[in-house]
Each structure stands twice: as structure tokens, then as C-alpha cells.
């Protein structure tokens, strides 16, 4: 029987740059704003945090900020 201790697979990592690029792409596509614009609008209370698209993108934003 195989021993689990030896089946090491490197953990995938994501960088802040990759997250920001993903947020940039999604916020442009869905909200017509850049990642920085989305983060600023979210922090200033200009977006409805209960809107499902905003709530979804806010998860990405919290991984960056």
C-alpha cells in the first residue's frame, strides 16, 4: 500500500499580480472598471456589496488588499 507521506505535490501559488490581472479582467468585463477602480469604489461604499457580481469580485479584492 502506498504511503501518503511520500506523495508530495507542490502547492499551487498565486501572486498578487496574477490576482490583480484576474480582477482587472473580470471587473472590466462585468462592471466596466479596472481592478483599482473596483477596489476604490468598493472601499468608498459606491458599490452594492450584496450584488452577486460585486460580492464575487470582492472576494478577489480581499485577497489583494
Amino acid at each position: 500500500m502506498a504511503i501518503v507521506e511520500d506523495d508530495y505535490v507542490p502547492t499551487e501559488t498565486v501572486t498578487a499580480g496574477e490576482l490583480r490581472a484576474a480582477l482587472d479582467s473580470l471587473s472590466s468585463e462585468r462592471m466596466g472598471m479596472t481592478a483599482d477602480g473596483f477596489i476604490a469604489a468598493l472601499e468608498e461604499g459606491q458599490l452594492d456589496p450584496y450584488d452577486p457580481t460585486v460580492a464575487h469580485l470582492a472576494i478577489l479584492a480581499r485577497l489583494i488588499t
Binding site: A2, E12, V14, A22
Partner: protein, 206 residues
């Protein structure tokens, strides 16, 4: 290769190094993946580490390296997301936030209900940290706030297993494994064991 899940090992306590934390987070990801893959979706669940100066990461189905919704066996979708970090001087692995969404299709706007938890919400925050939003509007509701925006309290913590059971039992999502109930009992017991141990410490009761 035979991959055997070591549920009994997932009671990590203090994690002195980031490597230990990473390994434990991956094991937690395996636990969530086993629960999801035995029940409502064969889509893989992964732990992705967020490269920062401190330990940070998330467990989810991913598109690229980004949390993404996943298809269910009934043709609908869900979004399952756990963000993990280390807290307290003892460096316990902790869920900082989670979200369990059930939605009609791949579009987030098709959400039906969503459970959410935030351990450290941005203050001021006057809602239940663990709550559920329901995309509905009862005819008898006369409040000012849209019903779907209410943070309906959902106890201390909703486990992913209880969410998965609900999908199978009440939304008729066909289970993948005939042993799904036993598997959910096992993975949920592993989580409860950790939660109960921490609840004894008032400094980390949430």
C-alpha cells in the same frame, strides 16, 4: 498511486512553520474535496497559496488560479470558497471567510441562496458574521431593506457538509457516491473535532 485521506491527522494545533501550515491547508482542502466529490460534483477542489509576506490561501474549485463556480450533478452550479490564515500567537490554521452559494447557472446573478462567514469583517459591522442570504421576497415581508440583502443569522458556523446534505436532500441533487452520507459524517466529524477544541478557548471561539 493510492491516495488515502488521513482524516485523523487533521487536528493540527499550533503550526510553527509556513510549510506545516501549507501541508495542513492542503489536507483541509483534501477534506473539502472528498466531501464535494462524493456528493454533488466531480470537479476538483484545490488549495491555492496566496504569495504574501504572511501565510494566506484559499480552498476552492479554480479556473486558472482564481476561485470559480463548479457544475453540479443536477445541471446547476455552486460556489464553495474557504480562505485560510494563521491566527493567535500559537498560529492556528483558521477559516477567515467562507462562501457557499447555490445558483441556477454559471452566472453569479442566478444565485438562489448563499451562506457567508467573515471572521474579521471590516468595521463597523452590525450583522451576524455567519449568515445566509436568500434570493427571494416573501409577500408578507414589509421591511425597508430588500429581503435578499438581509443577513439572516445562521449560527456559529455552517459546515460545507451540511450545505452538501441540504443540496442532496432538498434540492434533489443526485449524489455521486452511494456512501455519501458516511463520507460526509466522517469529514464533518473531523471538522467538529477541531472546532470543539478551539471553542474551549474563549480567545478563539469564533
Amino acid at each position: 498511486m493510492i491516495r488515502r485521506l488521513r482524516i485523523s491527522r487533521f487536528s493540527p494545533g499550533s503550526l510553527r512553520s509556513d510549510a506545516q501550515a501549507e501541508r495542513t491547508a492542503r489536507e483541509f482542502g483534501d477534506l473539502v474535496g472528498r466531501a464535494v466529490n462524493a456528493t454533488v460534483s466531480p470537479a476538483p477542489i484545490r488549495f491555492i497559496r496566496n504569495e504574501r509576506e504572511y501565510f494566506d490561501g484559499f480552498i476552492a474549485h479554480v479556473d486558472g488560479k482564481i476561485p470559480a463556480r463548479l457544475p453540479l450533478t443536477n445541471g446547476r452550479y455552486m460556489f464553495v470558497y474557504h480562505r485560510l490564515g494563521l491566527r493567535r500567537p500559537e498560529r492556528y490554521l483558521t477559516t477567515l471567510e467562507y462562501g457557499y452559494w447555490y445558483q441556477a447557472n454559471a452566472d453569479p446573478a442566478s444565485w438562489i441562496f448563499r451562506y457567508e462567514y467573515q471572521r474579521e469583517p471590516k468595521l463597523p459591522y452590525r450583522y451576524a458574521r455567519c449568515h445566509v442570504h436568500v434570493n427571494a421576497a416573501p409577500a408578507t415581508y414589509a421591511g425597508v431593506t430588500e429581503f435578499s440583502k438581509l443577513h439572516l443569522p445562521a449560527g456559529d458556523r455552517v459546515t460545507v457538509e451540511s450545505f452538501l446534505r441540504h443540496l442532496i436532500e432538498e434540492h434533489d441533487v443526485p449524489p455521486i457516491s452511494p456512501k455519501w452520507e458516511k463520507i460526509l459524517d466522517e469529514t464533518e466529524a473531523a471538522f467538529r473535532k477541531i472546532q470543539n477544541r478551539r471553542a474551549r478557548d474563549p480567545a478563539d471561539s469564533n
